[in-house]
């Protein structure tokens, strides 16, 4: 019985705690429901916005585009004001009629963005999406663990048998199928079945080289030198390079896999005005600097980047040369061919 009491007390304490927290959060100028990737915006930015505008930000996080879509579609319309989909998901959400066509006049800081990132293929007139942060699939290698003269700007280097069981790669089927296709001179978003058959054969020669599939923290294996070569997002690569000086980075010549996450407002947003205010706040150069300092992702906000220190600007894992970005590819909707991709993936990882 005594244990019951303790549990009851704990429960009561928990209710009180959550009640208190809820009370503390009420403010006057309305709320904003933000649905964003985990670890993607510093708390200080949220707090700064709340202080400046008096708007209470309710943040919820997700860890995959598909989960986000499922949750937005399943919830009441307008439950979330701002969502942060990646490139291909923006295209899909536009086609599903979930996003609001934005009123650009409400965004005074739009000029801070690098025009190279505007009007992307997934949102040709940048009507629905404002680029926030992104990255590229780069190759990181350990100079002491690979042979002299190894050239990782060529994807074919990855397929050599000398790298048996010594690689960590993204746990993402579009990336592996895509770069294998690129290495053969095919398209990153290849849809030709015969060509994909060849791609599969070539992928199978890559499999023995892979020690681990890891999208979340591949840097660890590179830093500890448990793997010699890694295919990872540039943000991770930047962190890996800063922790182990034997590591170096390569941008494959045939083009990299790119992703770009965007700030979007939902069509039925209950607090659309607040959403505009938030996006405009995030676009400010000083605020953007705060974000970049904490998260070393690819940043399309050139005014924000300009404020950063030289060490940041000269780090090519963070500020990737524009000509490399220009050669890159976004994931595209490939229709039913995606089923073939997932079959290839199943065979590849079984």
């Amino acid at each position: 019985m005594k244990r019951g009491k303790v549990i009851l007390l704990t429960a009561v304490a928990a209710v009180l705690l959550s009640g208190l927290a809820a009370c503390g959060g009420t403010q006057k100028n309305g709320t904003l429901n933000l649905f964003i990737w985990t670890e993607y915006i510093p708390d200080s930015v949220i707090e700064g916005f709340e202080k400046e505008t008096g708007i209470d930000v309710q943040m919820q996080t997700f860890s995959s585009n598909e989960e986000m879509l499922a949750k937005v579609q399943g919830s009441n319309p307008g439950a979330y004001d701002i969502v942060v989909p990646s490139d291909y998901m923006v295209e899909n959400m536009i086609s599903q009629d979930i996003l609001l066509e934005m009123d650009e006049s409400q965004l005074t800081n739009l000029g801070n963005l690098d025009p190279a990132y505007l009007n992307p293929s997934y949102d040709p007139e940048s009507k629905y999406s404002i680029p926030y942060m992104g990255g590229a699939g780069v190759i990181v290698y350990n100079k002491n663990m690979v042979e002299e003269g190894a050239d990782f700007t060529d994807y074919d280097e990855l397929f050599k048998t000398v790298y048996n069981n010594s690689m960590v790669v993204l746990d993402d089927f579009r990336s592996i199928v895509g770069i294998t296709a690129l290495s053969m001179g095919y398209d990153f978003n290849e849809t030709d079945e015969t060509k994909l058959g060849e791609v599969k054969e070539k992928m199978l020669t890559l499999k023995p080289n892979i020690k681990s599939f890891d999208s979340d923290s591949p840097k660890t294996l590179m830093i500890t030198e448990e793997t010699a070569v890694g295919l990872m997002w540039s943000g991770e690569a930047a962190l890996a390079l800063s922790e182990n000086e034997n590591l170096d980075i390569a941008f494959p010549e045939k083009g990299m896999y790119l992703f770009l996450d965007n700030l979007c407002i939902t069509k039925d947003a209950k607090n659309a005005d607040n959403a505009y205010k938030f996006i405009d706040y995030v676009l400010k150069a000083e605020v953007n600097k705060e974000i970049s300092t904490e998260f070393p992702y690819l940043n399309p906000n050139s005014a924000g980047v300009a404020l950063m220190e030289d060490a940041y600007k000269n780090n090519k894992a963070i500020v990737i040369p524009p000509e490399e970005i220009a050669k890159g590819y976004y994931v595209k909707n490939i229709g039913k061919t995606v089923d073939l991709y997932s079959e290839i993936w199943a065979e590849f990882t079984k």
Binding site: E66, T337, T349
Partner: protein
């Protein structure tokens, strides 16, 4: 007269005991199940679900690669269950024989680690088993090996992770069933000259079979679906059914195929239980059905 009275009165206790679970399951479990079933007959346009009826998702299941993944998963699940029984039984037995206070302490100590996030605990194992981890360092220092051995990112590591994550689900039902044994029965058997092994095989084991069965259900089924264990401990190199389904619901975004894979899994589990029911005899005695 008395018999009649009893029979009539059965309705009320039956309703009070069974109707809560019946209502709960119908509202919150049957509905999702029907949703999955419905979904498994729909198609996609490559990205979104479209409402066009099709059997294709089930046809697509007959694919040698998927079969191989199924076979692998069942193998891992089988060994996970077996290891949990073998390792869990002596522990549960010891716990059941302990005094009242010790029993409580043992049970709490058993559960406390599991209230810490499972992903973090598995990452702890990664540190232990890695190339520069404790195990390799120890073996190197003892000069039992001269080069670090690969422990992590193997099937063995996946198995270890599964056993680690699931073992309380074997120990607790085993404890519940061993604990109720009449100790005088065991002593009687011993006194009659049966040796310990014989007593165990002919008295203890059959009487605790319900515990083994309940535990096996709670370990075998989840271990088919725990994709994160294979991801963290095995480096995602050997897919399990769970990974396959997960891919359909996330990266590939082919929900209908994911749904049909789930239906097939549900179907296989029910077949296994039914076959067991028919062959292994009476589930009623086992307390499972």
């Amino acid at each position: 007269m008395k018999k009649n009275y009893k029979a009539r009165n059965k309705t009320i206790p039956l309703l009070t005991t069974v109707s809560p679970v019946a209502v709960w399951l119908i509202l919150l479990v049957a509905a999702p199940l029907l949703y999955v079933l419905f979904l498994s007959f729909l198609s996609t346009d490559g990205y979104n679900v479209v409402f066009r009826f099709t059997f294709d998702n089930y046809k697509n299941l007959i694919n040698p690669t998927y079969m191989e993944i199924y076979a692998n998963s069942f193998l891992i699940a089988f060994f996970t269950t077996l290891i949990c029984i073998l390792a869990g039984y002596p522990f549960a037995y010891h716990m059941a024989l302990a005094g009242k206070k010790k029993k409580a302490v043992m049970m709490v100590m058993l559960m406390v680690p599991f209230w810490t996030n499972s992903l973090i605990r598995l990452n702890g194992w990664k540190t232990i088993l890695g190339k520069t981890g404790f195990v390799n360092t120890l073996l190197l220092n003892l000069e039992m090996i001269h080069e670090p051995v690969e422990i992590l990112y193997t099937r063995g590591a996946v198995l270890l992770g599964m056993v680690y994550t699931l073992i309380p689900y074997m120990i607790l039902p085993l404890f519940a069933s061993i604990d109720k044994l009449d100790r005088s029965l065991l002593e009687a058997s011993n006194d009659l000259g049966a040796n310990k092994v014989k007593t165990f095989l002919h008295v203890t084991l059959p009487l605790t079979f319900a515990g083994i069965f309940s535990g096996s259900i709670m370990i075998f089924i989840p271990s088919l679906g725990y994709f994160f264990v294979s991801d963290i401990m095995g480096g995602g190199k050997s897919q399990l059914i769970g990974n396959l389904i997960e891919t359909q619901f996330k990266a590939a975004n082919n929900w209908p195929l994911g749904a049909s894979l789930s239906m097939m899994l549900i179907f296989l589990i029910l077949i296994m239980v039914t076959v067991y029911k028919k062959s292994g005899g009476n589930m009623e005695d086992l307390g499972v059905m």
